[in-house]
């Protein structure tokens, strides 16, 4: 397979506590042209979002300190981040987790493990829907 076209146009913040997964995500998204920032802690994730002001957020559900769902709720409650596209990641893979995340305002939901192309598709779609919100809400 050849090197992929760089389609990324902005900054993506990844909040993920597993170092290896964070590294893999960063590599894939950077290669797609995104400016990638990583963060590993739940409790300081909101501050990091405010500081980085990303165009998109990839958020793990199981985080030390604070759950990804709680962070999502706070983001949606804040006018500055209410429209920020958010992709939730989870390793638990139960249908109810996914429904809950979408109901709380996640734009997309990915269950670990996922394929890299799957990830990129969703990220691309989310970067495109920015202008059409709130039509988003489909899953992976």
């Amino acid at each position: 397979m050849t090197e992929q076209t760089k389609t990324g146009t902005g900054t993506i913040l990844i909040v993920e506590d597993e170092g290896n997964i964070l590294e893999a995500l960063s590599f894939i998204l950077r290669r797609a042209g995104w400016d990638v920032r990583g963060h590993g802690k739940g409790e300081s994730a909101l501050e990091e979002v405010a500081r980085v002001a990303p165009d998109m957020l990839v958020l793990d559900v199981m985080l030390p300190g604070r759950s990804g769902l709680e962070i999502l709720r706070d983001l949606r409650a804040d006018a500055a981040t209410a429209d920020l596209p958010v992709l939730m990641l989870t390793a638990k893979g139960q249908a109810k987790d996914r429904e809950q995340a979408l109901a709380m305002g996640a734009d997309a939901f990915l269950t670990k493990p996922f394929s890299n192309s799957e990830l990129l598709e969703i990220v691309e779609r989310l970067s495109g829907v920015d202008d059409f919100r709130p039509a988003a809400g489909q899953g992976s």
């Binding site: 290896n20 590599f27 030390p64 300190g65 493990p113 394929s115 890299n116």
Partner: protein
């Protein structure tokens, strides 16, 4: 001066008067009762049979002979009525609640309705009372002779007088004591008669007293001066004897069969006792008020004769006060007759209930003890017993010849019946008292009393066995009643008192402590000791008023409100009293009894109905049947109780099992979700990086190497996780195979430290104590090492001190071996302590560290399999885990 015939005529008229009172009272009682019949004053006056002819005549004699000693006979009862009032109340309550008929019945009933004890107490009572009855006969004949002497109109035949008196008393007792065919234990006619006699007695003694103080002396002042000058005032007081006699008299008021009869059996209302509590001591005080003045007068006046026991009569006679003397004669006659009547009644109840009836029942094997035929037998037995008791008294009187001083016979009698005291009081106050203890106590006291006092008294009068008495049986000196245990006593009564009651009490207590009560005994013991919790006060009985109400209440309690209500309505309708309560007619009562019997058994039903209607008392056979039924019902209900308890337990266990299953199911879901998370996380890295490696071309070697390594490490992590899960599963199912062997603790630690890569110079410094580690164990060394490795690795990973240090302490003692791993880090936050051993529970501080969070859970399971344990020790500085191995893991080094 009255002639002898005139005197006899007066007596006959007096006795006829008593009969009249008795008949009137009986009639009044049958018709619903006059107030005076059921008054506390009548009750108190009936108690005054305590003051017999012995008191009436003998107290003056005693005062003349030995000074104020006679007072003890009044002091004892007064102290009991004032200080032990609660005990009297308890006795009365028990007597009513248990329908006690006599003192023998009381003892027998308390100790599991023991027939043997009843016979023993009955025999004791008969032996103790017979001399006393003869004493009364003697006093009557003696007073006759005194009266008749000056006239000499023909010397009265004292023997014949005694026979006439005894016969008359027997007749009276039979007429009023066994009058009713239903064997009601209360006798209003008889009680009224003796209450009347109590008044005569008191009036006579007060009249003589007043005459002596104001007629012989010149008023109280002069009288006091005369007393001061007399020998009585100089009589020394013997402390021991005073104490002994007071105790004896106090015991007698509780134990004398006749006192029990009037105090408990004839009591119709518990509240009467409260009045008697002060009125009876007052009566005794009045009776004793003029004893000393009369004695002083008797000693100083000429022509009063040489027997001080008769001063009561001779003092007025010597001064020509014939009318007063006649009153005194009647007073003494009253005192004697009332005592004999009640004593004969009480004894006959015991003899017929506990000796004659059981024998008769055994002889005839009677089928139905509740037939009318049976009642007639019981009445006959009682009448014969009355005649028999009086006949015995007469024989004793004839044998003794009337020689003994009155007072000494009375005291011997007192001590005899006092042998019942320990078993009586102990039985009321102490649930632990048993039949064996009571039998041993009463039996031993009885024998000692009979040997030391009764036998010598009989022998003295009979002159039969005097040599045996003074030399001891078979010449054994210390067994001689005159010198018991070799004691040369100057006061045989006091010696016998201390010996008999002492041994009695001791054996009673020891026997009770070393024997085990049967169920009925225990039941009765509880009923007696806790009588106030088990029964309500039985207050005055007011004829048939309210009977139907009471019956309804009882029936409702037993049959339930609805069924009882229907039964009563139906019966009322049948009687043409629709809407009202039915009359308690025999038909209705029979029907009610039948209905109740279905629930509580026939005998109990009969007893309950009888108790409420007051129609019939409960006989011996009845009581036994009730006891049997009660025991059966109790047995049955305790079986039911056990069954329902069993059911409740099963239900509880099912509930618990269900709750556990639910919880396990929840836990299983959570566990699967956890496993899913733990497996998916490494797989995510593996999948992503392998795709990166596949999709990226070209890729620099450094990145390729790094990504490959990550894939490799994550694969290992997956494998480790699966290994741990399998290990845990095997451990939890208990299917683990242990390779037990002998191993040195130090070696296992060495291995673990090496395997964890924590050798000297590593990230963490290990502090050990080789001496303490010199312990040889019998265990699975690999498994133990696994636990140690886990603990050491955890310390390596999580100890956050600047210079991390792990101390390993070993303590080996009789309870086993403890190995403590303590690091110097920050420790585990208190709020997370509960999670330490949870699967996958990596604490916040442990996030990001490798491992699936199963290590401690596995270690804990391993230690459980090895028979020991693993626990977290909260401490202020650092994290401490303690590994414990059982004592059996220890091998001598």
């Amino acid at each position: 001066m009255l002639s002898f015939d005139g005197l006899v005529a007066v007596c006959v008229v007096y006795v006829m008067g008593l009969f009249a009172i008795g008949f009137i009272a009986e009639k009044a009682a049958r018709q619903g009762g006059a107030r005076w019949l059921n008054s506390p004053i009548t009750y108190t006056l009936s108690l005054s049979i305590y003051a017999t002819a012995w008191t009436f005549y003998g107290a003056v004699g005693s005062a003349a002979r030995s000074g104020l000693e006679f007072l003890t006979i009044y002091l004892g009862p007064t102290l009991v009525f004032v200080g032990w009032f609660w005990l009297l109340r308890k006795m009365v309550r028990i007597g009513r609640a248990q329908r006690i008929t006599s003192i023998a019945d009381m003892i027998s009933s308390r100790y599991g309705k023991s027939g043997g004890l009843a016979v023993l107490v009955t025999v004791l009572a008969v032996l103790g009372t017979t001399p006393y009855i003869s004493l009364q006969l003697q006093s009557v004949t003696l007073s006759f002779s005194v009266f008749a002497r000056p006239g000499a109109l023909g010397a009265p035949d004292t023997e014949q007088t005694a026979v006439w008196v005894a016969g008359g008393l027997a007749l009276f007792t039979i007429v009023f004591g066994t009058r009713s065919l239903d064997l009601n234990e209360r006798h209003p006619g008889l009680v009224s008669a003796i209450a009347f006699e109590a008044i005569v007695k008191l009036a006579a003694i007060l009249a003589v007293g007043a005459f002596v103080v104001w007629g012989v002396a010149d008023g109280p002042g002069d009288m006091l001066a005369r007393i001061e000058a007399s020998a009585i005032a100089r009589e020394p007081l013997n402390g021991a004897r005073w104490l002994g006699l007071t105790v004896l008299a106090g015991a007698a008021i509780l134990c004398l069969p006749r006192m029990f009869q009037v105090l408990v059996v004839e009591n119709s209302d518990e509240r009467h006792l409260a009045v008697a509590g002060w009125a009876f001591p007052l009566y005794l005080m009045l009776i004793s008020l003029f004893v000393v003045p009369v004695a002083v007068a008797g000693l100083s006046l000429p022509g009063t004769g040489d027997n001080p026991d008769l001063y009561m009569l001779t003092v007025p006679l010597s001064l020509g006060q014939d009318g007063l003397a006649l009153l005194v004669f009647l007073g003494g006659f009253s005192a004697a007759t009332s005592m004999v009547i009640v004593a004969a009644l009480a004894l006959s109840t015991m003899v017929s209930n506990h000796i004659v009836m059981p024998l008769w029942l055994r002889a005839t094997r009677h089928e139905d003890p509740m037939t009318g035929d049976m009642r007639r037998v019981a009445l006959t037995a009682r009448r014969l017993s009355i005649a028999g008791v009086l006949f015995l008294g007469l024989i004793y009187y004839r044998l003794s010849g009337g020689a003994e001083a009155l007072a000494s016979i009375g005291l011997i009698s007192f001590l005899g019946v006092a042998q019942v005291l320990p078993a009586l009081v102990g039985g009321i106050l102490w649930r632990g008292a048993t039949r064996v203890g009571a039998a041993l106590g009463i039996g031993s006291g009885f024998l000692i009393w009979a040997w030391l006092l009764l036998l010598p008294n009989v022998a003295e009068t009979g002159g039969l066995i005097a040599p045996v008495l003074s030399n001891g049986p078979f010449g054994i000196f210390w067994l001689s009643p005159e010198t018991p245990l070799g004691l040369q006593s100057t006061d045989p009564l006091l010696t016998a008192l201390v010996l008999s009651l002492g041994v009695n009490t001791l054996l009673f207590i020891l026997g009770s402590l070393f024997s085990f009560p049967n169920p009925l005994e225990r039941l009765q013991g509880a009923q007696f000791v806790n009588v106030f919790e088990h029964s309500r006060a039985l207050l005055g009985w007011r004829g048939s008023v309210g009977t139907a109400d009471d019956l309804l209440i009882m029936a409702q309690r037993i049959m339930g409100t609805g069924r009882a209500g229907r039964l009563f309505q139906e019966a009322a309708r049948g009687q043409g009293r629709d809407g009202d309560l039915p009359e308690p007619t025999p038909d209705f009562l029979e029907k009610l009894e039948r209905e109740l019997a279905g629930s509580v058994g026939a005998a109990t039903a009969h007893a309950m109905v009888a108790q409420i209607t007051g129609a019939a008392s409960v006989g011996v056979g009845d009581l036994l049947a009730v006891a049997d039924e009660t025991a059966q019902i109790m047995e049955y209900s305790s079986q039911l109780e056990a069954k329902s308890e069993e059911l409740a337990q099963t239900a509880r266990r099912l509930r618990e099992a269900n709750a556990k299953l639910t919880e396990l199911s929840v836990q299983k879901d959570a566990f699967l979700s956890q496993i899913s998370h733990e497996l998916r996380t490494p797989m995510t890295s593996i999948r992503s990086f392998s795709e990166i490696l596949m999709q990226t071309d070209p890729m620099d070697d450094a990145a390729r190497g790094r990504f490959s390594r990550i894939i490799h490490d994550e694969s290992l992590r997956l494998t480790r996780l699966l290994d741990d899960l399998l290990d845990l599963s095997v451990l939890e199912n208990g299917r683990v195979t242990l390779n037990m062997g002998e191993v040195a603790l130090g070696d296992v630690l060495d291995r673990a430290i090496h395997a964890a890569g924590a050798q000297a110079g590593g990230r963490i410094a290990i502090r050990r104590d080789p001496e303490a580690e010199a312990v040889t164990l019998w265990t699975d060394a690999d498994r133990l090492a696994q636990v140690f490795i886990n603990l050491i690795s955890n310390a390596q990973k999580y100890c956050d001190a600047e210079a991390p240090e792990l101390r390993i302490d070993v303590v080996a003692n009789g309870q086993g071996v403890e190995v403590e791993f303590a690091d110097n880090g920050k420790g585990i936050p208190a709020r997370q302590e509960a999670l330490i051993f949870e699967k996958f529970a990596r604490l916040d501080t442990a996030k990001g560290a490798p491992g699936a969070g199963l290590g401690l859970a596995i270690s804990r399971e391993v230690m459980a399999r090895l028979g020991g344990g693993l626990s977290y020790r909260p401490s202020a500085d650092g994290t401490r885990f303690r590994v414990r191995l059982p004592a059996r893991a220890l091998r001598a080094a």
